[in-house]
Amino acid sequence: MSEAASTVLIVEDDAVIRRLVSEALRNEGFGVEAAEDAAEMDAILVRTRPDLVILDVMLPGEDGLSICRRLHAHERFPILMLSAKSDEIDRVVGLETGADDYLVKPFGPRELIARVRAMLRRGPRVHSPLGRRFSVGSLTVDLDARQVIDAQSAPVALTSAEFDLFACFIQRPRRVLTRDQIGKWTRGRIPDPLDRSIDMIVSRLRRKLDRSSKDANLISTVRNGGYLLTAHVTPV
């Protein structure tokens, strides 16, 4: 596919940035489609196939991260995320969204075009659904099959609540999670301050993991009532 024929779809809510980026891309010979939000983007995707999508993280309605996950699951074009917050980068390129590259605002046109060219050169992504199998220390965890397997290929029996909690840690490895955050992510609500059930599940999970994994202390307690998965998580 020749570069000149490549079409780039930009999804960005700020009209001026949208116009300036579109102009910069057109000047370089790209075909450009522009959308203000997810609905407009979907309308464009019905009638045309872009070779690359530039997606702003913060959009009205469905946000960029959610759009990115959705596109990643069904489409093969590469996705370049635009973020206005430097602390969003971790989430943008994290395990969940599937973005191929990102740019932090403000960026210059040359920077943008260089990234776009580099991504187009790599071509369409080999379609691989986001990996949901991870290696955690000596354990292997399959989030879809809800299965934990130890180094001797023996399954580790976890209750549903324990697995949900473990999955919550795996999706946010090496990061301190407060009781409130864990409650919000595993049960959709912030637990009562006197509710110790999360601590109890953590301690049961920890006991089971310590028994079947040689890395002692997979889950560590941090002062001020937080927990943290100390192992590195890698997709397998």
Partner: protein, 414 residues
């Protein structure tokens, strides 16, 4: 938050127990007061005793006296007239005397007196007889010219400074309850204050975050337009200005998050982010080097962005004021330490503390050539301190320049 809710629960328990206690004491007093009133037919008893003694023979009298003597009553006969005076100001003797008079009037009336016994449960003087049943002494002159002395003993009540223990307990309970109520109310007020402050702080962070986002949008437009400036030098300056503005915004946002404990906490290999920052600058030809060290454990718990900003500020400061940055990392069992040495004129000891304050620059030796509000080191310090670390300034050992040292506590798994 957890402690205060525990305190609140304790207070509520104390308060409710106290209320139950007061209620029980009150109930006891109400019921026993009516029981005393009903079960003490003292005047009728006395009248009957008078009538019986007057009719009985001399041999029967001691038996009668013995028969009526019990825990709550003692009767004896004294020869001659020993009638006392019923005190006018004491309510219980007066009422009892009136009742005794009524009953005796059936027998044609007898001279009598009712007084509170001096010994025993006698505390009538203060008028506390409603609370403390007093022992009464009833004297009736018989027709045989003998005086019948009846000691009506109230049930023994342990007392405390002249009032029954139950009363003291109730009073103490009430006072404690009031104190508990007051403390509870203050605790609630304090909690509300905490909630308000945290709302305020979050609101401020959200506002700075919102401003930062909007300013970034404007700066992105500006940055995209700047490329149309034909003069290359002007264009580069404009790009640098935009970068400085973003940096200032990020600093403000980070510092306000650090100041209110809103930083992320994740496990970070400190040596790795130091070498990444060094590599970034070496790639554009800046005189930065990192003394190679043996692999060391530099895992700390902290905010990646904040720590990168600390390292970046120290390196850029050293480059700007001290021409070059020489970095080294060491670690012991508790701390990881980063030294950043420069080749500048150094910082005089008396200005070292001052230079870590916001908006302070050493103007005499370092003139203001480009942007920078003097926030870099202040932001670095507030971020390092938010991570439980220390930042200090000394002389560089190898050059005349300054050495900035950052010490951060290592993560210990528990």
């Amino acid at each position: 938050m957890r402690l205060s809710s525990a305190v609140r629960v304790c207070l509520i328990i104390v308060l409710s127990v106290t209320i139950v206690w007061i209620g029980t004491v009150a109930l006891f007093y109400l019921s026993s007061a009516s029981a005393i009133r009903n079960n003490r037919p003292l005047p009728a008893q006395v009248a009957a005793l008078v009538s019986l003694l007057e009719q009985a023979s001399a041999t029967q009298r001691p038996l009668i006296l013995r028969a009526v003597t019990s825990q709550s009553m003692a009767a004896r006969l004294e020869p001659g007239n020993h009638i006392g005076v019923t005190p006018k100001l004491q309510r219980v003797p007066r009422l009892t005397a009136r009742a005794v008079d009524q009953y005796l009037s059936v027998l044609g009336g007898r001279p009598n007196s009712v007084s509170i016994r001096r010994e025993g449960n006698a505390r009538g003087g203060l008028g506390f007889t409603f609370a403390a049943p007093a022992d009464l002494e009833i004297r009736v002159l018989l027709s045989t010219n003998e005086t019948l002395v009846v000691d009506a003993l109230s049930y023994p009540v342990a007392n405390f400074f002249g009032v029954p223990v139950g009363f003291v307990a109730g009073l103490t309970g009430a006072v404690l309850g009031l104190i508990a109520l007051f403390a509870l109310q203050r605790e609630i007020a304090f909690n509300r204050l905490q909630v308000r402050i945290s709302h305020l702080v979050r609101g401020r962070i959200a506002m700075i975050g919102g401003i930062s986002h909007d300013v970034r949008t404007f700066l992105t437009r500006l940055r995209l337009r700047v490329d149309r400036i034909p003069d290359e030098q002007e264009r580069d300056r404009a790009v640098a200005d935009i970068a400085d503005m973003i940096r200032l915004l990020d600093d403000a946002l980070l510092a306000s998050r650090a100041g209110s404990g809103e930083l992320n906490e994740e496990l970070i290999d400190f040596a790795q982010i130091v070498s990444a920052e060094v590599d970034d600058r070496r790639a554009v030809g800046k005189p930065v080097d990192l003394a190679s060290t043996a692999p060391l454990n530099s895992t700390i718990l902290g905010d990646r962005l904040a720590l990168r900003r600390v390292i970046a500020n120290l390196i850029d400061n050293a480059l700007f004021y001290g021409k070059a940055a020489h970095l080294s990392i060491e670690a012991d069992s508790e701390f990881v330490t980063l030294h950043v040495d420069d080749e500048g004129p150094g910082i005089p000891p008396d200005q070292r503390e001052q230079i870590l304050e916001p908006f302070v620059r050493l103007e005499d030796s370092r003139n203001r050539r480009t942007g920078g509000a003097g926030l870099g080191l202040a932001v670095a310090r507030s971020l390092v301190e938010a991570h439980g670390g220390k930042i200090s300034i000394t002389d560089a050992p190898l050059s005349k320049g300054a050495r900035l040292t950052v010490q951060l506590p290592l993560f210990v798994a528990r």
